[in-house]
């Protein structure tokens, strides 16, 4: 009505996606290529006729893979709508039918026909043996699937959903599709594989037998036996870590807000530590200090004659390592909660003749209760999901996350057992996640409103204040010792044996030389270092993009099933990395999607592991942008896509940068999922380091860890600088507010469970 757009005989969006579909069907190779699409070598390997690189159309024309032909026929159907506008009553239903039929057939042929022909018995009995097979799908297939998806969503939009907005409906469809394919499908395939017995048939009884086996649930250690089931081990550790990190986090939060502590900035800097530290590094440092040949152990031995034992390997060591690693996360959660208690509540209490202690006990603490529960659950999930520390420190104390790993990589290679353990682990973490969202979600006592509250938080009672100082001081000192140990340890020849200082570990890992081809990266670590940088960089952009798009849909759009949508996108929070790793190995090892051994599977796993971070960062900063801004853009004639691009994205720039950097950093320090997914060609820093630890090459492992920490620190520091200064020049009056906002974005993303890794 307002815009005199040229009249297209066929809706332009439909033209676009039909064209994309045809590009996928008739131009790009249908199946996956060994060398990747970018090498372009496929162009010279008999394209377009050779069946390895042929597009679907050419395969069909040669009489091969005829089951792909229906997709081509479906892609012709949009032309039947020639001359019909979007408002035509036939337009929407027709596109929905085409899209749904296309997606269904696409998935069906993919799952039904695999490496050995028909995958399902009933197909064999109906049609006989196929006598043909197909490999994993490639870029041609990807484009065709995308085309059908967006034709489908265009149809839904044409029916009037969400005000007929193609961009929004398409985005929702896209997010649902990728989450379904890369989170739900692998998890379900893993669940299915848990049912498979050794002779390849499905059996619920065997599954139940495994699920409730003594290995997992045994309580021998209570009744006098030697060890308990892994589930109990994990549970006990997780509860201890949850309780203790919550208490420690509370101590730090109270110290920052209610003791007049002057170096708050320094304290907040501590929260950066878990972001930049690969998860197993703390465990490594604990070994250097308290292990059999650790510094403290040996000192105690020589000074007091206390004999060295292996006490640290197991529950005590794990507890210490996880407390050090996860307390900052609890701190980040609780600082918001403690600051969120309105000072006027406490002031009111004091004017009602309660003293400081009574006020704290009867008003402040109860108001913080939901926050405390929240911090506990986060600590619980973190501990459950932690993989790096148990791997290096666990000793005989088996936990679920590492047992899963050993079931897959050990001599046994028992996929079903790994799946069963993963189910138990998933049960715990999803339970905690569910409790956090649906039980705590409704109970928030945050009493500070948007309006200014001029009150001041009262200080803690004196005795409590000094206790808080003592605990926080000890923790901080210990953390400093840990990092100093790592730094120092990277220069020690052989810890516990030969304490001469040397740079040989760095030379061995990061030596650079010259040869006839120019710079020669001689060090052993360079290959994995560059791979890590590359993978982390490549995955950062899609992670941030999908995260922000999802955040936009969650904050700005109303649609049916939004709660389920939100739950689905945030779910990967609660899925431990080891579970993702196992399920990816199970799901993406065989057609229709064959990704194991490629770099793509690493990128994909990072995108979906880190997506909730992007979503949270996006939600946090998008909620700060007044909704009337996009509404006014809409009433001024911009479409929702144009509003998103010209209004929301520019205003989100700091959040985008933060999400980019954060997903980059997380990708560099992750271990749990990728340890299943790395290959000789794509080895990552963290898995390389863990392998060195397992070979007892501590020196090089520590030196590499120190380098990683330094790199992360530099990246985060540069980002803070860029985000911090960018806005001042541009926004004049609002600069201050924006600055603090962008800061919160960074730390906000820090609130999210860092590890699960």
């Amino acid at each position: 009505m307002r815009n005199a757009r040229p009249d297209w005989p066929l809706h332009p969006t439909l033209v676009l996606w039909t064209a994309v579909g045809w590009a996928g069907f008739a131009i790009l190779p249908w199946y996956g290529l060994n060398d990747g699409i970018l090498s372009l070598s496929w162009l010279f390997d008999g394209y377009p006729l050779d069946s390895d690189v042929a597009p679907a159309l050419f395969l069909n024309l040669q009489g091969e893979k005829l089951w792909l032909a229906p997709l081509g026929v479906l892609l012709l159907l949009p032309f039947a709508l020639w001359g019909r506008p979007k408002s035509d009553p036939l337009f929407g239903p027709a596109l929905i039918a085409i899209g749904a039929a296309g997606l269904f057939w696409f998935a069906f042929q993919g799952f039904a026909i695999g490496l050995k022909g028909f995958q399902y018995e009933w197909l064999v009995s109906t049609f006989g043996e196929l006598g043909d097979r197909q490999f994993g799908m490639g870029y041609g297939a990807l484009l065709v699937a995308g085309a059908f998806l967006f034709i489908f969503t265009l149809g839904i939009a044409a029916r009037g959903a969400i005000g007929g907005d193609e961009f929004v409906v398409g985005s929702i469809g896209f997010v649902i599709a990728v989450v379904a394919v890369f989170i739900f499908m692998p998890i379900f395939q893993m669940l299915a594989s848990a049912l498979i017995t050794e002779d390849g048939t499905y059996s619920v009884n065997t599954f139940l037998g495994k699920l409730f086996s003594r290995e997992i649930w045994g309580i021998d250690c209570v009744t006098g036996g030697s060890r308990c089931g892994v589930a109990w081990n994990s549970l006990v550790l997780a509860i201890l870590v949850g309780v203790l990190t919550t208490l420690l986090g509370l101590v730090f939060a109270l110290m920052l807000t209610r003791t007049g502590f002057r170096y708050g900035r320094l304290l907040r800097a501590l929260t950066v530590l878990p972001i930049i530290t690969p998860p197993f590094v703390i465990g490594l440092a604990i070994i250097l200090l308290f292990g059999l040949s650790g510094a403290v152990t040996q000192a105690l031995d020589s000074v007091f004659g206390i004999p060295a034992t292996r006490w640290v390997y197991g529950l005590p060591g794990l507890l210490i390592a996880q407390l050090l690693a996860f307390t900052p996360i609890a701190f980040l959660v609780l600082i918001g909660v403690v600051e969120g208690v309105s000072p006027s509540m406490e002031e009111a209490s004091q004017t009602l003749r309660a003293d400081r202690w009574q006020t704290f006990w009867n008003v402040s603490l109860p108001l913080m209760r939901p926050g405390l529960a929240n911090a506990f659950l986060l600590g619980f999930i973190e501990s459950m999901a932690d993989f790096g520390n148990p791997l290096v420190l666990g000793g005989n104390f088996d936990v679920l996350s590492t047992e899963i790993f050993f079931a897959i990589v050990g001599a046994q290679y028992d996929q079903a057992q790994a799946a069963v353990l993963a189910i138990v682990l998933l049960f715990f973490t999803l339970g905690a996640f569910w409790a956090q969202r649906f039980w705590l979600g409704r109970k928030s006592y945050t009493t500070v409103s948007g309006k200014g509250d001029s009150g001041v938080h009262p200080h803690l009672p004196k005795r409590l204040k000094y206790t808080v100082y003592a605990i926080a001081g000890f923790w901080t000192l210990f953390t400093l010792v840990i990092y100093a140990t790592i730094f120092y340890g990277s220069f020690v020849t052989l810890w516990g044996v030969n304490h001469d200082l040397t740079v040989s570990h760095y030379v061995k890992a990061f030596a650079v030389g010259w040869n006839e081809f120019g710079i020669h990266w001689r060090g052993a670590a360079w290959s994995s270092f560059f791979t890590t940088l590359q993978i982390a960089l490549v995955s950062a952009l899609p992670t941030a993009a999908i995260g922000l798009l999802t955040a936009y849909l969650l904050v700005r759009q109303k649609f049916a099933g939004k709660d389920a949508f939100e739950f689905g996108t945030m779910l990967s929070f609660a899925i431990p990395g080891t579970v993702i790793g196992v399920s990816y190995v199970i799901a993406f090892n065989v057609p229709p999607i064959e990704l194991t051994g490629t770099g793509i599977i690493l990128v994909v796993s990072f995108i979906f592991r880190n997506m909730p971070v992007g979503v949270r960062a996006g939600v946090a900063s998008m909620s700060q942008i007044d909704k009337s801004l996009d509404e006014s853009s809409l009433t001024l004639g911009a479409s929702s896509w144009q509003s998103f691009r010209t209004v929301i994205l520019p205003l989100l720039r700091p959040a985008i940068l933060a999400a980019l950097v954060y997903s980059f950093v997380r990708a560099m320090t992750a271990i749990s999922a990728i340890i299943f997914l790395v290959s000789a060609r794509y080895d990552m820093s963290t898995s390389y380091i863990v392998a060195r630890v397992e070979n007892n090459e501590y020196g090089i492992a520590i030196a590499y860890s120190a380098v990683l920490i330094a790199v992360m620190l530099a990246v985060i520091g540069i980002m803070q600088l860029v985000v911090g200064t960018r806005r001042i020049g541009r926004r004049g009056l609002n600069a201050d507010a924006d600055l603090s906002q962008s800061r919160t974005n960074v730390s906000q993303s820090g609130v999210t469970p860092v590890g699960a890794g």
Partner: protein
Amino acid sequence: MARIRSNAASVTFDRVTKKYGAFTAVKEMSLQIEAGKLVTLLGPSGCGKTTTLRMIAGLEMASGGRILIGDTDVTRLPATDRDVSMVFQSYALFPHMTVNENVQYGLKFSGFDKKEVVERARAGLELVGLANLGGRLPSELSGGQQQRVAVARALVLEPQVLLFDEPLSNLDAKLRRHVREEIREIQTSLGLTVVYVTHDQEEALAVSDRIIVMSNGEVAQDGAPRDLYDAPANAFVADFIGEANMFDCKVVSVDKDVATVELGPVTLKLPSRGRSEGAAKLAIRPSRIGVGRAGAANSLPGTLSKVTYVGSHLELLIDTELGQVFAVSDDVDADLAPGGAVGLTFPSRGPVLITG
């Protein structure tokens, strides 16, 4: 030189309903807004006036009924495709764009070429007197200036309907009066169709050709400002616009359009407004009550319980057999003191028969 013109069109609501889940924000509302008029939606918060406005803009979709702009049915059309502009309560100026970029924003999506975009934006800024501030960012403008940029941004698109959502609520009292006169002036000189939402009754009375008072998602009364004040249709309108004393009374007889009403000891002859004999309600503005000496003919006896001096007039609370009456007296020197006996008189134009 480009000039801003008007493409004013009428707005028609045909039994429009808006539901949020089980809650009905607007119930079967029908109304007709003529082209070139300024119509105000007035009501307390939560009465559905902003929802109504947003349905005209296309930011909310009606759950039932039809919405027409001009002769076109726009019920299912999203905001992007409607020829309607809106000035937001918060102004919603894009903080990362200069004043010029803000005003040009909508023009860029309307298919004008570059030169015309610049010219039209300039004309718009000239109209609101800000032509020299085009290079500034919104954060560098005062509240009133931001307001005018928001108006210019909406005007340059020459919309069929221009919407204002409480545009003055972020301005201080003095500026408010000034800006509302400016808005009214631009509206009359360009002949725009304007729908204006406010909860401030004085503002509504001052700017409107017509006021639609809303209550609980329904039209409580629809009429010219003066009608609403002098002849409120019901207790809600009488109470919401200005202050009113509400009395139970009795209609003794109705002769043609004149009703004879008994109000305690007082007998009044009033326009019947469709009322028949029996119990009724009467609304009387405080300024329409005469406060005279006790025992005057056809007067309601009372005792002064409170006298408050507020500068321009006296505010009086009087206890009577019909309950407490609120009246004002312009004679600030009158000899009125608490405890004194007075007689209240009611001029024929003052009291109005209303429905419950």
